[in-house]
Point group: C2
């Protein structure tokens, strides 16, 4: 099936906001095995919307429009689509009372132009919006389909996956009617290396499509299994996942949408482990990421950004001689930082980072991008040494990711030991 | 002038990456007073590129293409544009030796397909690329102009501002030949409030256009003054800036592109002030932002994320009774945290945050989004109390922004006192 995408709004044409809906819609369509023929943006303008719709319909089976469904006078998508095909508008009374209920519930003053959001072109089918007031719709035109969904990204995403894709699968029935999806998140291998390790897997014979999505510093793999039955799709997905797991095991941290921070949150909470962090080069980023998870105060006791040597010495008890002899950026210092913060905070674990984020401060022996990460536990302290080559901000990001990954691995090892 | 934008690459059509170039190009064009008629994305496909170019040229004076100029076989933009207009390709010897020099300089092995980047359609003019190997070009076609620039965002941005815009201004001479630009960054007012405070200014009569760009949690204002002479454009820009300054003074932190962290870095460095940070609800984000600036070790001594009450008590010396009586989220605790970390680190300043990022932990008196921020100096400690209503991550962002803003204001006040 051939798809066209039309994002609508003056704010896209003047560059005021970047269009994130188009790439999300394209990605979802692609994962269904559909081909995206063209992506366009257009302003809130009747003639231009008609012109772009005609052009897109000339080369596609369905056009997905996003944006311009709100209550204000510049939101004209519904009226423009109706006008483009000579259709009148009707009011859907169910939608109207649904919108009025929202206003009552949140104690908002009803303004009459909100009724606009309950109006649809004759022949359109309503697609409900569970995250906002403006519903979307689908309109069959000349054996093709036009979809209209809101521009608010969270609403557009929900309606694309829960409204547009099922409707398209229904209107254009395919042999492989069932699609099951799995995201696998990895860290530590380049995209080319991930690709190389998986190249011998025959995904096609399993009826599974595979996509690679770099989300710095991670690489995400998305699998879609399609089949005539739900069970077969699930089986095939599981087979493909098993093949990937056996080849990338050490680099996978999440089967599904959970972030690395969220995976760690579960591991620490389930095993009643507490942690304290001592950071140097990451400047607070490790602790900041740990505290992005609600409830992190259950396991994170404190974090110290010991940026100066004085702070490393006085708070963490790293001996001045060690810093003098081996340098603040060294395995010795990293280990003592992790052990020091663990002891100071009285936690089960202590995690530390010391390195050179750049752009200055590098040397021949320890170039910009060098980092030592240590994790102190009750029995032992482990330390890892890495070299990266990014700019300051990306170095901080990849340092923090490697530190959290070390923590995840440690927790998993401890758990498997106690079982 | 009417502009069309065409971003080229299979990675855009399958949603693998989001298109950020289109919105940047649209914004720059808009700031020149030009109208963006259509934005399109297309895959690396000869026929599709020709088709989209014809369509865009039918409604515009110039089309700016981005992407597909690299050395690999799927980069076909140059050949597709040549083919679309029946033009042959020529090799620019200067460009070829420039690219070969880069390979020699960085000790890279020369692969012959790199020579592709020195090939251009007959009649094209080269636009140099100072950040990469692939140059761009402009091609006059049927009294219109086609531009091709790389897809790598940093290269696309540089070539848009330094190559495409000057060339368009030259080829389509305008009365207001000189354009001067100024960005003004604000924090603390909603976009609607900024708009409202500026609504009495007659920017038109000054020949100045004004654009508002929300960059959460900041609002940026971009002024463009156009005039027949450079001096007049500069004068008009200054006039407009003065009008804005007098109305938004308390909310502006940057005239130009500098970030809040960079503004603070200058203030602290120039005044030889050192700082330490004690964070609770921001979880390390304030310290992380301060350390995003290279050279921050000159003024940042340490940062503590005292997430637990125990850490607040033992490291910062906040009395347990104070926390018990007023709560960890209170003006009293915030003040003692700032004073405590200042004393502990022996710095000129101490900055603290304590609040409720959410989604849990709120109460009727102190709902989610409540934050107390304190700054301790040699003479006194100041404290601010705010209430925001975002989700956890955005609350952390806006809390950290408000803390850094408080720090900026303090530094400026101190400096004006000593003068």
């Amino acid at each position: 099936m051939r798809i066209g995408i039309l994002t609508i709004g003056n704010e896209l044409m003047n560059g005021r906001i970047a269009d994130t809906n188009a790439s999300f819609i394209a990605r979802e369509a692609n994962q269904q095995g559909w081909s995206v023929e063209a992506i366009m943006s257009v302003g809130d303008d009747f003639a231009a919307i008609k012109n772009r719709l005609d052009y897109l319909l000339s080369m596609t089976d369905a056009v997905i429009c996003s944006g311009g469904l709100g209550p204000t006078s510049d939101d004209i998508t519904t009226a423009a689509i109706a006008e483009a095909f000579g259709l009148s508008l009707y009011t859907d009374e169910n939608v109207l009372s649904f919108i009025k209920d929202i206003f009552t519930k949140f104690n908002l003053r009803w303004v009459e132009n909100n009724a606009k959001q309950a109006m649809f072109p004759q022949g359109a089918e309503v697609i409900p919006n569970l995250r906002g007031t403006a519903p979307g719709f689908l309109l069959p035109v000349k054996k093709k389909l036009i979809f209209a969904i809101p521009g608010v990204p969270a609403e557009a995403k929900m309606m694309m996956t829960e409204g547009v894709i099922p409707a398209l699968r229904k209107h254009f029935p395919q042999n492989d009617q069932y699609a099951e999806k799995q995201t696998i998140k990895t860290f530590g291998l380049s995209e080319a290396a991930v690709d190389d390790r998986l190249k011998d897997i025959d995904f096609d014979s399993m009826g599974v499509s595979v996509g690679f999505y770099p989300v710095f510093p991670e690489n995400h793999i998305v699998l879609i299994a399609r089949s005539k039955t739900h069970d077969e799709a699930q089986d095939n997905l599981q087979k493909a996942q098993n093949e990937i797991s056996s080849r990338l095991q050490d680099y996978i941290f999440s089967y599904g949408e959970r972030t690395l921070e969220e995976v760690i949150a579960s591991l620490l909470t389930e095993n009643k482990l507490t942690i304290a962090v001592a950071e140097s080069c990451t400047g607070g980023l490790i602790t900041n990421r740990l505290t992005d998870v609600s409830g992190s105060s259950d396991y994170l006791e404190r974090g110290l950004v010991t940026y100066s040597n004085k702070a490393k010495i006085s708070m963490l008890g790293v001996p001045a001689e060690i810093i003098e002899k081996h340098g603040a950026v060294s395995e010795e210092t990293a280990r003592l930082m992790a052990e020091g913060v663990r002891k100071l905070a009285g936690t089960d674990l202590g995690l530390s980072s010391t390195g050179i984020a750049g752009p200055t401060g590098g040397s021949k022996e320890k170039p910009v991008g060098t980092v030592y990460l240590a994790l102190a536990g009750p029995q032992q302290t482990i330390c890892r040494h890495y070299s990266f080559r990014w700019d300051r901000k990306r170095n901080k990001e990849v340092f923090s990711e490697a530190a959290l990954f070390l923590l995840k691995n440690y927790c998993e090892t401890q758990i498997s030991k106690t079982k």
